[in-house]
Each structure stands twice: as structure tokens, then as C-alpha cells.
Symmetry: C2
Subunit: 762 residues, 2 copies
């Protein structure tokens, strides 16, 4: 069984399954994403989220606040559902093909993660008994980022007759709206207004303008049915092209539909550029398009595949997650990674801290160019972050938005949005991680250092000294079940790291060539550097003597503990059933917060404090956030609880494929997918990336026979392979490196094997 | 000069002045309120808030939350603008009378607070030179609560000719909407739908239904022009009656327009009852209506007038404020006192803690029946308060809504709304104050004790013990520039008082007749009583060793101090120019918070702590709330800073008449009006009402020659008169009472004089 293939046989036509599969089998390449809707449609009663999205393309939409306090966000950005080019209708001897009419004699659905395509195979019989085999292949090309390609292969099984193919290009679209959901406004809103609809050179071309953001989106469709000429019908918002062919029993007919999407953020003359683009891809032999997709993915898997031996389901889930990371991430700095990737409209396509803390670890260690673009995205939006800081009363520095597409804050409820100042620390952390993995000073000068500096400046203004300690008040940590607290451990620890690294980077750069110039441009002085270091050295980090743990914030310990055992299961997720004030009053966590801080910056505390904290928080954490279990998995592994780590890992890995959070229909959970990766590499592998170098502390879950992963550190590619007995390190290329395994130092020249420890925790 | 008369000569026709006077000269009686709009209207370009309101009559209206967290309020109540019966058009020999056409030869506007009427006098000349004197008298009857009466006296000065009077009754009304205000939704909404419009027995009758709250409102108009018969014209939503008379030079014509308003909250068959009501009032000689108004007010002033000698402006402002208290307060338990009384739509007609902490002090000591009804209102809505507590996750007790009309919470932004749990303590405090002033155990059994009990139960669930202390976390105190804090001093102190008094009242009642029965009904046990006392005894009350003050909450001292001196004046009020997170991060106060706690429960701290706290908070308080300066005035007086007390008092007293907060157009500030009263009685008079009895500590502002006030304590009416030398106490009726003056005990039999101390502070 090929674990790169995810397949469903005789798939269900149950509406709930289908809407879920729209997400699971969607096609995306980081630029565009198309949900896996049936080309031929569904019965009218079926709920479907029919969508095509472009990374970074947005419109503004009003967000009314119940009370108009100064500075509250009243306009947000939203991802757009752009032109619908999925529709293809087949008429078999006059009867329209549908999964819900005639007879489906067999069907399956396939995601092939090596070929980068999805396939739908159907054997269908019409009411009159005409039997036909249909194979629908879809691809969002990783190589040709603007291209989405559909191929229909049709083979009459028991008849000669007429097949009509009607391929549509629809410009009238709107975002998903569920009239049964009271949380959504009373009507759909059309963000896109078609400004140009035409057919030119057998290509249908539509140009649409967003209602407020001033973005042009161009969609082009080219249909090809061997040498047949199709008839165009052009309406106000729709172009169809109809092909009629005489089909012969047993003989395949192959139909191609090329969609090219472009936007004016990336193209100066989008229509012209996309026309040229389409002509270029159409001019290539189609096998080349497929082949280059396969080559691209071969490189990808070769570069970064996580292997798990001994658990087929898990291996598949791990591949799936990794594949979706690649599908979701923008390959340029105009986009980023939305919480739901390009698979749906959940969270309105916003980018969160997920990028830096859950997704960058994968890209930093495997796909450096992507990693750089994610940082460039933050750099590109730095001015908005500065404006945001001013709006919040800070006289200096930049505060990144909690959720955004184009750089402006979109939080509707600021206590668990804008107040999450840790986003600044998260962004800085990812810059440092990139630096630690690459030592790429050029990139630091290009943008990384400035990000470090402006985020550090924000902390200096947001915090203040009190009784000799540097306090950061009124912020919200990762755990949104407690908001606007003082000295959130996670936030302060990251702020400390951010301040230290800002100073350190300034010192590194100021000694480098052109460094002085850079410092002058940044108006950075030695005094400011020292003020960063002083604040970092005196950072308030809550510690509770009685329990010996790090409290989540100053006042966490004085609150009542929520009794999770007595909470009925239908109360979860608690946020759906409890007033925020109720949650805020208790010791109850939505997700890893201090535990996460102990993972990412483990050296701030001794291992006993970390262990006690883990034990303490585990009892009051609901994991109502999909960002939680992977962190608990990592820390369980770190603390020698391998079986527990394995259980948490399973929850994380299977989240989307098994729809365990029951909302995968709205899109995949990209952060959790990154978390799955982290749980293997940082959790079981015990990998850490620090200033001192890289280190490992591998453990092996009982259920597995082995696992492996790869790390690109500086110029060196290292394959790490763990089995029941030992851990092997193989230098695939690059120079020899010092590595630490179970706190022992080794110099890796070619390969190295270290015996596995039963218990890796001190 | 009669200080019960507030008069404007040749009043301005500037639009901004007029809209302000709509508030200042409004007519209200606690049941209904009519803004002082010109009967004949304004030019189209003028902004006017034309309104008639009924206390306690509301509709529901949606309030969308930007993010839909569980339990957030999505529907609020709003006061309604009901039928418009103000319009009276005059045609003088064919020309329509208007202040903006023809020539106004003279005019004034009068509020007569002894007669309980407003008057508009105009001498007007038409374009053709017809000169006429018009006197318009309006009255909202205190005696006949459903009646609003307009009288026109017209005297042709230089002509004989035709006068036409067109009196309208308009059913198509909507709440005020300002298209230039971006904070208001895009269109007006008609809350009222007319279900019946008719003319019967020369009375026009309209019945309207609210859109959602299921309330019927009935308005009836009866016009009388001596023996002239008017012609009715009935349209879908409007009835007019036109009278034509031959006027003779020098001879007065008198026209009366009776409006009767009723509602189905108070009347089972509102139309029938109001028809009868109107017939009754019309059948009385009109002078009786005016006379009874005057008698009612004579009693009122006699009972409670605050006298200030030596400052005419202030005296007038003091009378004005007192008059508005009477005009604003509901005389039954179906209404309460809206933040803006019945003078406008500001704060949507909601009732706040203002009632208990700023308005009840006046009523408790002067108008006992009104005071009882205000408590009954809270009792009537106790079930909603229990529901509210459940919604917020509390397993027991009641939590009163921060803002409401019918009992359900209406806060749009819960951190400075719902989270203000001190409302519970405020309600309890007012119950105790009523009890201390009356010793009325019957009323405690009727409703007071149950309120004390259910509010106390809430604290037990909201708080928790930590390290031996009872903590109350995640609440907002009076100062909304810091939200959702732990152990707000004001809140905890009131909670302590609430808990103690709940236990005490249970013990008192359980020894009284039928007491056992009551305890059984309330399911109150000795154990629960003890738990109240234990929590009260161990209540966490923040104290800072370093400064020797009571910090506003646990973490107040660790925040940065806001530099008020460096803040440009255009930044105030800060809430209009600063993001909440910005304010929350600083030591900066919108209003008295801890200082207020030190006023209402002064025995919790020694006077030095109180003084240090006062000094500390004064420097960081903006008084951006109208509830602040009166409290600072009281505490300045208490601490011997009489001049400062006087200055704060002036700010408080003149707020509306001098429009110092620049928003009196939206309505008067009732709480501040109560605060003015408190500043004299509690501030300069140093009056306190405690379990131990009543006490005084009078001081005399330099600018005054004297002041006096009255107190109804138990069965005794005491007149307190202070001059430059002494303070006189006169027992007007009732039994002798022990009183304390400057901490000395006296027994007041008939009268008593005590020399004034230069400095009353220890």
C-alpha cells in the first residue's frame, strides 16, 4: 500500500461527508486553492462550500462593534471566493451525468501526494443503460503557480453515442454564507464586481474588481477536447463552451480545462500577463505539466519526508499533513499561510501566529526560501505594525496584528486578539530561528534585524519597571481562556528573548561590513541596546514557591481551579458554552501556554520546574484549541512520558483526516499540521535549535518500529533515523557539524549511531 | 430674584443652543418626559431631537457583536420615542408663525420649579405687520402622571383678524438618528407600529405596538379652544384638528392641548383606562391641574429643599438639579431613573448603578416611597438577575445587570459592563441604607432581605479563598479605565458589606415574627450565614505598604502612571482618544473608585490611609465621568480641604445648566444631580448614615454665607442649618434622636447648635 496515496472507495454521497471531502481533497499550491467540489454539482438541498481562493487576495468588509470604544477594529479583511471555473457538465446520450441520478456502479476518490493530483473515478450508468467510465484528474500546479488543471477521461463501456460537455466559467460568486448560522449577517455580499467578460482566441477571460481593496483578479479558462471546436455562449457573468462528440465504445475521450488565475497585487498588468501565462502553459505538452509536478514533489519528499515505520494510518496522516503544508504556504512574500490554508474560508483566510510558531519550524529546517518569504511578509507589513502600535498608544516600535491578510489588524474582540502581544515575540522568535539555522547575516540585514529591533522597541514601551523588575501588563498569552493579564509567562519569556536578540543582532551587524550604516539608518544607539538587555535581564517571570511551577501570569494561582473531571463532555469546547468572564475567573486553559514556553525556551527553567508545570497544566488544559496537543506531545516526550507523547501525537496527526474537531469542512488546520511535524522532530526526535548548536534527545514510541526525518542546518543536510535500538545521524551533504545527543557532544562527519535511551529525561 | 425660576431672555436661535435647551427645559414627571421642542418646528436644516418618553417602556433591538463569544449580549433594550403630540401650528392672518420667519420682537423661556411648568413667551410680528403675544405653558403633571398639558395664550397686539390653530397628533415616530454620526446604524428604525388610529368623542386616540417587546402604548389628545369646534383630519398615522377663530386686538385667546399617555405594562386595558383618565382630567377645571402641581412641589421643596446662601448661580443650579431628580424618578416600581432621566435618549434610557449610589441617597433621606419603589424595581427584576448569574456560570445567587430597562443585561462591551459586579454591592448598599434610615423590617421582609441574600450568594460563588483570603477576581470597578481586575478595592469592600449585612439581616429576621418561615422559604441555613461572615472577615482588601494607600486592585501599583500634566487638553475625555488597552495598562482613572469606597464605607480604613489614597488618586483621575467630581468634593470636605471641595462641587452642580461636558443635548446627567445633593449633605454637611446612627461633620465654603438641608431619619425630620459660625439642628417633627457632631454625641430633642470647626478633619 502506497502511503502517499489517500483513497476513499465507493465514497459516500452523504452531504456531511461530501462537504468534509471538499476540504480533504482540495487542490492547492500555495498561490491558489480550489475546494474539491463536484464539477457537475449537487442536489439543491445539499450544503456545499464551492470555492476558489488566492493567497493574499482580500477585500475589506465592515465589522460593527456593539460598543464603539476608541480604536476598536471596525473593518476587517476577508479572503475572497474568486471565479468559479470548476463546473463541467456531461450529457451522455442526452442525460446529464450526476452522482445523484442514474446509477453509480463504482467510484473512488484519490489524493496522490507524489503526483500532486486528485482523482475521482466513477463508473456510471444512465437511466437508459449507457454505461461510462469517467476519470477526473485535478491539479493545482506547484511549478506553474497560476494554473489549475482539470482533465476528464471518459470511456463508454457499452455504447456508441453522443457525449456533450458543457464547461463553464462563472464570474458571479460570493463568499460562503450559511443561512442557518445566526452568527453570519443576513445576506451574502458580493465582494467582486466583474469589469470585463470576454472570449478571445478561444479563451474566456474575466476581470473582477474587489469592492473596497482595489484589487483586480483575472481568471482565464481554456477548454480542449482533442481537435473538437466548442461553441461559446457568453452571458453577463458567465461564459460556457459546449463540445459535442461521437463517442465509441471502449475508446477514451480526453478533455482538458485550464484555469489561470492572476491578481493585481502580483502583476502590474494582470490580464495581459495572465493571457501570456495561459498561452505558455497550453503550448506545453500536457504530460510535461504533470511530470514537472511529480519532479517538484519528488524533491520535496526527498528533502523533507517524515517517515514513520509501523503505523500505516499515522504514516499516511503524517504525509497528508506535510503535503498540506506545502499546498498552503505562499511561495512569495505577498501571501502567507492562512489558518485554513487555501482549503476553505474558516477564520476568513487570516494569518495568525500559527505561521511563526507552528509552521516556520518545518520551513526553516526544510524549505529555506519559503521560510524567508514568510519573514519577508512580516517585513513587508512592518509599517502597518508600526501604525498599529501608535493606535494602541505606543510611542515606538511595531506591534504585529493578531490576525490579518494585508497587514492591518482584524481582531473583532481585542482581549483575545489585539491584546495577544506575544505575536511580536513569535515573529521575532522565527527570525532568530531562521538565523540560527542559517547564520544568514545578509537576510538579517535585508529585513530580519529590523523586525527584531522594532518588536523589541515595542516591548520597551509596553512594559515598565516596578520594584526592579520589568513588567508587561494587560496582555493575553496563547491561552485565550484568560485574557488581559499581567506578566504572562509565555509573553514575557519571548519578550526577553526578543530583547536579547535585538541587542545581539545589532551588535553582530554593527561589527559587520556596512553595519555602521545600518545602525545609523535604524537610529540605534548603544544606550538603546543596553536598555534592551537590562529589561531582558530583569524580566518578570512568574514563579510560584508553593507549587514550584511557573504560573501562567501574575494572578493565575489565586484563581479557582476548574474541575475538568466534573465537566460534562457536551460542554466542550468550553468557549462555545461558557461566557468569557466565567472562563477568565478560573484556572482553565484552552491550550498550551506556559507549557509551550517551556518547550520553545527550555533553558529558562530547570527541568523540575518544567515537569511540575507540565503536570499542573495538563490537569487544567482542555485542548479546545487545535494548537495544543502537539505541544503537549513534544513536552511529554521531553519529560520521558513517551506513551503519553504518542497519544497526544495521534490526536494531533489525525485531526483533519479524521475530522476530530468536527470543523474540517471549513478548512484544514494548518498550524496543527505543522505541529504534527514538530511532534516528531522536536518531540520524539528531541531536536532543538539553539545558539549553541543543534541537539537531539530521541525516544521511540512502543507502537513504532522506527522513524526518520531530515534537518537542513547551515550548509548541512542531516538525516536522522531512529529505530528500536539506536539513533543514526547521516550527513547527506554539507560540512561536518557538531551535534549534541542526550547532552553528549559529537562531531558528525559522515554518520554516527548512538544507542537509544529508555528514558531520555534527566 | 426667584431662584426657583430659571429663565433665558431673548433666547438664541442658534441651533446648538436650541438643541441643548430641548434638554434643559424639558417637562417630565417621572412617568413621562417631553423634550422642549418648539411646537411649531424648526427650519429643515436644524438638528433637533424631538422626543416623548415613558419610563420603563422599551423595545428590544439587535446589538451585533463583532465576535460571537458565548453569552455576549446580542439584544438590548432601548427607551422609545412615543407619539409626538407637541406640534401646534399657528396661522396669523394666513402666515404661519415661526421663530425663524417674520420678526421676533421679544422672547424668553422659563422653567418655574415652584409651579412645575415651563413657559415660552414670544412677541411676534408677521411679514404684514400683525403683531401677537404668545405664551406657551407646558406641564408634565406630577399629580396626574399620565398627563402632559400645553396651553397657548395668544393676544393680538395691533390687529383684529383670523387665527388658525392646527394641532397634530403624530403616530409615526422613531428614535433619534444622526446621519452624521458614523457610530449609528445606517437607518432609522421604527420601533412602534400603529395598530389603531381613531377619533372618538373629539379625542384622537392612537395605539401602537412595539416591534418585539410586546408592549402597547396608547396616546390620546384632546384639544380645547374655548367653545370653538375644531375640524378633524385623520390620516394613516396622523390626526390633526384645526380651529379657526376671529381674534380681537388686545383680547386673549386660550388654547389647551391635553395629552394622555399610557402603556400596557401598567394598564391591563390601556386604551380604555387612558380614555377614562383623559375624561377625568379634562373634566376638572384647568386651574385645579396647575394648583395641584404647585401644591405637590410645595411639599417637595418644603420636605427637601437644599438651601445655599451667598451664591445665586449655585443655588439655582442646586434647585435645578433637585427638580430634575424629582422629574426623572419613576413613582412606581415599573420604572427607575435613566441615566438621562426622561430628557433624552442618551445611554438608550438605561438604568445603571447611578440609581443606587448617586440617587438613592437623596430619596432615602427625603422621599421614602420613591426610595422603596426603586428597591422594588430591583426586586421585580431579581429573576432576570438570577438568570444573568447562571449565564455567567454562577451556580447560585443573582447578578444585577450593568445596564437595563426591564431587567436583562444590555452591555455591549462586557469588560466595562457585565464585569462591573459591584452593581450587586451597590444594590445591596442601597437596601441597607434604606433600612438604616427607616428600620423598616416589614419592607426588608417584603423584598430587601431577599435582595441582600441573593447578591451575597453571588459573591460566594464569584469569589474564592486563596492563602486564607477571600478573593474576587476578574471584575471591573467603577473606574472603567481599568477592566477585569482582581480584588478591586471598591468591589471587595462592598461585597464584604453585602455579605455581612445579608447575614445580619437573616439573623434579625429569623428572630422576628414569621422569621423562621421566611428563612425556610429562602433555604437559608446558619451554615450559609456563617460562610457569608467568614468570607467578609477574610475579604481581600488591597493595601500597599510602600505608599500606604489602598490600591484600586491587586495589580494597580505595578502599572505605569499616566502623566496627566503632559496630556494635551484635546485628548480628554481619554476614552474618546485612547484604545482601551492603552488605558488599562496605566495608572489612570476615569472617576473616583477607591476614593468612592473610602466615602461610602469610611470605617474600613484609618483616616491617614484615606488621605494618602485621596492624594494619590487625585493626581491620576481625569473625571472623564460625570460621576466623579461630586465624590472628590465629598472627600475633599471630609479631609478638611474645603476650598477644593467647593471647586469640585461647582463643577458638579453646574454640569448640565452650563453644559460643561458638552453632551447635555443628549439629556441631563441625573447621577451627577444626585451627586450635587450628596456633595452638600455628605460633603459640606459631613452627614453619615451608619448602623451606629447618624453623624455630621459640617464645614463651610468661604464663598457661602450658609446652607441648609433636611434629613428624614427613622420617624424624625431634622433640619440642618449651617452658617459661618455654627451648625444648627432643628427637629421639625418626630421623636428625639441621638446624633453625633464632630464625633461628639448629642441627643437632639428640639434644637441644638454646635460651633463650626475650622478644620473638621482629625
Amino acid at each position: 500500500m502506497d502511503q502517499f496515496i489517500y483513497q476513499k472507495e465507493d465514497f459516500s454521497l452523504d452531504q456531511k461527508e461530501l462537504i468534509l471531502e471538499e476540504t480533504i481533497f482540495h487542490n492547492a499550491n500555495g498561490y491558489l486553492g480550489v475546494r474539491a467540489n463536484f464539477e457537475e454539482g449537487y442536489p439543491d438541498t445539499y450544503k456545499t462550500i464551492r470555492g476558489t481562493y488566492i493567497n493574499g487576495v482580500y477585500d475589506f468588509t465592515p465589522m460593527n462593534q456593539a460598543e464603539k470604544l476608541h480604536g476598536l477594529i471596525e473593518e476587517k479583511q476577508t479572503i475572497l471566493n474568486v471565479a468559479d471555473t470548476q463546473e463541467i457538465l456531461l450529457y451522455i446520450e442526452g442525460q446529464r451525468f450526476s452522482m445523484f441520478e442514474g446509477t453509480v456502479l463504482g467510484s473512488n476518490r484519490i489524493l496522490d501526494m507524489k503526483k500532486g493530483i486528485t482523482i475521482r473515478n466513477i463508473i456510471w450508468e444512465s437511466d437508459k443503460g449507457h454505461r461510462i467510465e469517467i476519470k477526473i484528474t485535478r491539479m493545482a500546479s506547484f511549478v506553474f503557480q497560476h494554473l489549475f488543471l482539470i482533465n476528464y477521461e471518459m470511456r463508454p463501456l457499452n455504447f456508441d453515442g453522443e457525449i456533450e460537455i458543457v464547461s463553464a466559467h462563472k464570474g458571479k460568486v460570493s463568499n460562503f454564507f450559511d443561512p442557518s448560522d445566526p452568527r453570519v449577517a443576513g445576506e451574502t455580499f458580493e465582494y467582486l464586481h466583474l469589469s470585463d467578460v470576454k472570449v478571445e482566441d478561444d479563451i474566456s477571460i474575466m476581470t473582477a474588481e474587489t469592492s473596497k481593496s482595489g484589487i483586480q483578479i483575472c481568471s482565464l479558462v481554456k477548454n480542449q477536447l482533442e481537435s473538437t471546436v466548442g461553441r461559446f455562449v457568453q452571458k453577463e457573468t458567465e461564459v460556457t463552451q459546449t463540445f459535442t462528440v461521437r463517442a465509441q465504445k471502449g475508446k477514451k475521450i480526453s478533455f482538458y480545462k485550464y484555469t489561470v488565475l492572476g491578481d493585481s497585487i502580483r502583476s502590474a498588468d494582470v490580464q495581459k500577463e495572465m493571457k501570456q501565462y495561459l498561452k505558455d502553459v497550453v503550448s506545453r505538452p500536457v504530460f510535461e505539466l504533470y511530470e514537472r509536478q511529480e519532479v517538484y514533489l519528488k524533491d520535496f519528499w526527498n528533502n523533507s519526508a517524515l517517515e514513520v515505520e509501523g503505523d500505516e494510518d499515522l504514516q499516511k496522516a503524517v504525509y497528508y499533513n506535510q503535503y498540506q503544508l506545502l499546498s498552503s504556504v505562499s511561495k512569495d512574500a505577498y501571501g502567507n499561510i492562512a489558518a485554513k490554508g487555501l482549503s476553505g474560508e474558516g477564520y476568513e483566510g487570516h494569518y495568525f501566529w500559527d505561521t511563526e510558531m507552528y509552521l516556520q519550524p518545518f520551513f526553516v529546517l526544510n524549505e529555506r526560501e519559503i521560510s524567508k518569504n514568510l519573514i519577508r511578509f512580516r517585513y513587508r507589513t512592518l509599517e502597518f505594525a508600526k501604525d498599529n502600535a501608535r493606535e494602541l498608544g505606543h510611542s515606538q516600535g511595531a506591534l504585529y496584528p493578531w490576525r490579518t491578510i494585508m497587514g492591518k489588524e482584524c481582531s473583532g474582540y481585542f482581549p483575545s486578539g489585539t491584546a495577544a502581544y506575544h505575536i511580536n515575540g513569535d515573529v521575532a522568535y522565527s527570525v532568530v530561528a531562521y538565523y540560527l539555522a542559517t547564520k544568514d547575516l545578509e537576510f538579517m540585514k535585508e529585513c530580519g534585524a529590523e523586525i527584531l529591533l522594532e518588536t523589541a522597541r515595542l516591548w520597551m514601551d509596553a512594559g515598565n519597571y516596578y520594584q526592579g523588575k520589568f513588567h508587561i501588563n494587560e496582555v493575553t498569552g496563547p491561552d485565550e481562556y484568560t485574557c488581559m493579564v499581567n506578566n504572562n509567562y509565555y509573553t514575557n519569556l519571548l519578550a526577553q528573548y526578543n530583547l536579547r536578540w535585538a541587542a545581539k543582532m545589532v551588535r553582530i551587524l554593527s561589527t559587520a561590513e556596512t553595519g555602521e550604516q545600518w545602525c545609523a539608518k535604524m537610529h540605534i544607539t548603544e544606550e538603546e541596546c543596553r536598555s534592551f538587555e537590562e529589561a531582558a535581564d530583569n524580566m518578570m517571570l512568574p514563579y510560584d514557591e508553593e507549587t514550584g511551577i511557573n504560573p501562567q501570569d501574575d494572578s493565575f494561582m489565586q484563581k479557582k481551579r476548574w474541575d475538568l473531571e466534573k465537566t460534562p463532555s457536551e460542554m466542550f469546547p468550553l468557549l462555545m458554552n461558557c461566557h468569557p468572564l466565567n472562563l477568565y475567573r478560573y484556572q482553565i486553559c484552552k491550550q498550551a501556554d506556559t507549557v509551550m514556553a517551556h518547550f520553545i525556551l527550555e533553558d529558562a527553567q530547570d527541568i523540575d520546574t518544567i515537569r511540575r508545570s507540565y503536570d499542573y497544566y495538563e490537569k487544567i488544559t482542555t485542548h479546545d484549541s487545535s494548537l495544543s496537543t502537539c505541544i503537549f506531545s513534544i513536552m511529554a516526550a521531553r519529560l520521558g512520558m513517551t506513551q503519553k507523547a504518542y497519544d497526544y501525537f495521534g490526536e494531533s496527526a489525525k485531526l483533519d483526516l479524521f475530522n476530530t474537531h468536527k470543523n474540517t469542512k471549513d478548512g484544514i488546520h494548518t498550524a496543527n499540521m505543522g505541529g504534527t511535524y514538530m511532534a516528531i522532530v522536536y518531540g520524539f526526535g528531541g531536536f532543538r535549535l539553539k545558539e549553541e548548536g543543534i541537539s537531539f534527545r530521541p525516544v521511540m514510541p512502543k507502537a513504532w518500529n522506527g522513524y526518520s526525518f531530515k534537518i537542513l542546518f547551515e550548509d548541512s543536510k542531516i538525516l536522522v533515523r531512529v529505530d528500536k535500538k539506536q539513533c543514526e545521524f547521516i550527513l547527506e551533504n554539507g560540512s561536518g557539524k557538531e551535534i549534541s545527543v542526550y547532552d553528549e557532544k559529537y562531531f558528525l562527519v559522515r554518520n554516527l549511531a548512538v544507542s537509544l535511551k529508555e528514558n531520555n529525561a534527566e
